[in-house]
Symmetry: C2
Subunit: 365 residues, 2 copies
């Protein structure tokens, strides 16, 4: 077995999920994640935890969902009972066909998802972490060969997380203290308010309220954007490819938009509700192990030297106690490359120029 699989398991169990002796840990194992499951089970054994592996195959689920008629039972008791007593749920994604769910009609899939609201909440109440074991199917989505994709995934996952968390803490401090952010690059000059908002240091660990491995972004919930922004990193939304998005904001709302590819998908997004035309998130990608777009949001939005904005729903964690942020049925991330000819300012001070942060060698204020 590739030694990196063991290292991945160690990061997941120790850094991300902080598993301790006696913890009851549910492993959700995708069809293609077997090797990672073996390595994680070994680590759980070493830590003195208990494990129960579930088989999270999309193909099995789609066969069930597609065959069932009428209403799904709301939150079946045996799964609720298991999750109520679980301390952590580790999801080991690693599919053999990322389109497997298409075997069941979309409307049945939505109904099934709705019937599992409490099951999802219970999972979210544990020290849950989602990660990805590289499979050929995911390599295919990324447009990469298998070996090359494995290198890509392990570069993203096997970071010095402690030192990255420290670096991201600096960015969080700047954002927490700031009032206004301005992003300037090609076809882009966008200002937005972050006054009274709290940034999240998403350091791939439950200790940082961060539940994805890899992670590596700092995000907050901006409001009142003014100006224009160009997103040059491609994206897939609800199955639709979208490229080269340009948005114009006035008085905090999107007033104009275009895309070279998939403009109809943008039309749909902005027609969803009022909140879909306002900002929900500003994220600074700081994981330089992720150096290319792979059409997987778990990786894309953490890419080093990128900034992403989401239209739609804002995360409650970024808001003052008791206050609501932007509400919407959607949350759509769009990514822009800031590695060249760009700058990010907080209250008029440049904090990142051409990808370099102010605390880094080579930074030109």
């Amino acid at each position: 077995m590739d030694q990196r699989i063991h290292e991945h398991a160690a990061v997941l169990v120790d850094w991300s999920a902080r598993i301790e002796a006696g913890d009851d840990v549910v492993l959700r194992v995708d069809e293609g994640a077997h090797d990672l499951a073996v390595a994680v089970a070994e680590k759980l054994g070493e830590r003195g935890a208990n494990y129960l592996a579930t088989y999270a195959s999309d193909e099995v689920e789609a066969a069930f969902v597609g065959a069932r008629e009428g209403e799904f039972e709301q939150d079946p008791g045996f799964e609720v009972a298991m999750l109520e007593r679980a301390d952590a749920v580790l999801s080991l994604r690693g599919q053999t066909n990322t389109a497997a769910k298409a075997a069941a009609p979309g409307e049945r899939r939505s109904a099934y998802k709705k019937s599992r609201t409490r099951i999802k909440e219970l999972r979210m109440d544990t020290d849950w972490v989602s990660t990805l074991h590289p499979t050929r199917a995911h390599a295919q989505d990324a447009g990469m060969g298998y070996e090359e994709y494995r290198d890509f995934v392990y570069d993203a996952v096997l970071r010095d997380w402690e030192s990255l968390a420290d670096e991201m803490a600096r960015m969080k401090e700047l954002l927490d203290a700031g009032s206004e952010v301005r992003l300037v690059k090609e076809d882009t000059d966008l200002a937005m308010s972050i006054e009274n908002r709290t940034a999240v240091n998403s350091a791939a660990s439950v200790a940082y309220d961060s539940h994805n491995l890899p992670s590596g972004e700092v995000f907050t919930a901006p409001y009142d954007p003014e100006g224009e922004v160009y997103f040059d990193v491609p994206m897939t939304h609800d199955g639709a490819r979208i490229r080269d998005v340009r948005l114009a904001f006035e008085d905090g709302e999107v007033v104009d938009w275009s895309a070279e590819v998939g403009e109809h998908a943008l039309d749909d997004i902005f027609a969803t509700d009022e909140g879909a035309r306002r900002l929900g998130e500003l994220g600074i990608g700081m994981n330089r192990g992720i150096d290319r777009f792979t059409d997987n949001i778990l990786f894309d939005e953490k890419m080093g030297d990128t900034v992403h904005l989401a239209v739609g729903r804002a995360y409650g964690d970024c808001l003052p106690e008791g206050q609501q942020g932007n509400q919407s049925a959607v949350h759509v991330d769009m990514i822009t490359d800031v590695s060249e000819d760009s700058r990010l300012e907080i209250d008029g001070e440049v904090v990142q120029r051409n990808g370099r942060f102010r605390w880094e060698d080579g930074f030109e204020g």
Copy 2:
């Protein structure tokens, strides 16, 4: 997908487990049983049941068990909670390496097994069924090619179970009414008492208290054997190959034994305890879909035209209420071919000769 996988799933869900709408069904999925899991999930959907799939990988378990030091936690609560609320547990065996457990030391595996006593009991309290999806690893154990092995498995599983159950009921009636059984063939003339014993019609359905698919045997708990018996079907016990076993019984106990291969393993079995030298089971194999030895007891002991005897522990189901049968730490099945030059008598009347039962065409009383 091979149509027979769908047929296998239908037999398992409908005939064997008798799944009904609203049932909470745990699917235990082996590494190599994915396709059967998909087909079973579809059937569960059609029946309106709920499912929770667990990943029963021996490799994952061995990694955990081998890594854990000290005591295993007794019956972890999250697994107990799940099983307490489950109506049925369907085990879909189908390994990719039948030796995978060897990765963990035997003594740790025993300790782990002991720590899961209640979990096993809870599973046994449900409408549980074990079946096997043909994999290359199982074909390898059977000494067969993959395609040929798949034919073999589906011949064994896809029977007309209703009519086989009826036929087996005839044999059960004869055994229940009888007092003494006598088996005669090459190097064999063995008499044993079955007075006051109740036979089990093992028809591969929870409705018959039969929990294996395939099944197809009628068994009871004989006692006081006298005479000699020769077992010409090979067997594997605790990893040891044993061939051509000959036993001699006097006053109900084994007094002499030999084997062409693996005699030391026999020595160990008979040294276990007193009960190991007495009989625990007489079984009549009646599944003619199983026509060859494949070194898998799930199949071997149900083979048509065979009779098996077990030394050691007797099943409580065969005994009068409140009475104990033979007690022992072991239960070792040994199989003899009765397709030629043989007869089985109950109270002096021939019920099977040269493989033909008395109710069949070609039977020569």
